[in-house]
Amino acid sequence: MAQRIAGSHFVFDEWSRGSSALHRLSPRTKLVLFLSLLVITAVWPQSWLLFGLAFALVLAARLPLFGVAARAALVLPFTLVFAAATWLSGDAHRALALLWKSYLSALWVALLMATTPLEHVLEAAAGFGAPRLLIDVMSFTWRYLGVISEQAWRMRTAALARGGERSFEISASTLAVLFASSYARAERIHRAMASRGQKI
């Protein structure tokens, strides 16, 4: 009924606390750097040459090459479907370009996230003018993502443990109760923030 947020989803969190030169670079600089690399990848037909640079950066940041490459590969399922469709319509060249372009782009993002804690990326984005509200919401969403999906998993476990079968209706009422409980949690968080003197 519910998949589980795997611990591997938090792997960036571990990697990003490293201490290489790339890790120490200011988050704003890195954001600009990787956005530029993304744009170059998007517009330069020969940008596959940049694969070398990407892997060099992974090694320079003392990150596990295979691990980062595997993270970026998460993009492939979607890409493969469309690459296949393009191939079928007779454009093999473009199909190939779709594959490497999306993979290279995913590598850049993975590199950014593997060398910069999310909260720093968010601060940098705020520095460049992203709306404060959006940044705050992202920060909370990220913080409670694990907590609430873990709870979803445990609710499903509880249903199974009492002999529940997978069913549409049970999933729906589970979600409704999860919503209720999340609502109550938001209320409690707000209370905790107010109690610690959050400015109004």
Partner: protein
Amino acid sequence: MHIPDGFLSTPVWAGLAAVSAPSIGVFARRAQAGLQESRVPLMGVMGAFVFAAQMVNFPVGAGASGHLVGSTLLAAALGPAAATVVMTAILAIQALVFQDGGLLALGANVFNMAIAGVLAGYWPYRLLAGTRARRIGIFAGGFLSVLVSACLCLGQLALSGVKMRAEVLGLAMLVFVITAVLEGAITVAVLSALERINPQWLRVETRKNRPVLTALAITALLLAVAGFMLASALPDGLERVAGLTGLEGKEFHVLQSPLPDYEALTLENPWLRKAGAGLVGLSLTFAVCLVLGRWFVRWRSA
């Protein structure tokens, strides 16, 4: 439906980023206006909730299952402006941390799912929530939000020159329609269960006449339909549009003066020409959005 980087041509992703960024600014300001402080943790936790909810499978028989997307649910619980901001937060986290959707394509994904998806999901709900056809409104909301996002996504891919055969396209449409029906059904089921627990959570706006949002919603719908028709009718749509509007010629002049050394390159490289066209479009849209945004703020405060 999260478009990765590398799929969209520069004009498309840049143009959509230029539309989405200021729109989110406007929505954020809107959501913040009259925002009690308690709404920030609420929005954040609801983001996490939708994330978790998207992982809960809904079995539909024959071993198949679907899951909630959540735009309509969010819009019903938080109102459209806050829902848009929350959906944007979710999409951004998916792009950054889960490699689900690209970072340059974020503008496009936000446009498809957070802006068009939420508005398309909210309006049927808003219109019918107070009436006896409440459930129909909810279903239509869920259905439309997914379908509109999907059509926009396909349209943008086609506009970027990702070619698809008619059969493949038909198959994709079929999948999208099924997903959309499922989203409608799930949203109805979850909202009904929620109503039994505490009806106060689902807001039906009492304030009337919001011309801007209505206009935006209708535009989104029209865009979706137009985008899709364009996609299926014109495989290399953008060039045609550029040709029709005469952009093809103009962009050349714009590019020529600041970069004389690259003149030959510019002439010969169609991708640079496209990028140029994109930049022009980008600046134009950005300007339009800024003006619209300013006007909107002034209109709000007046």
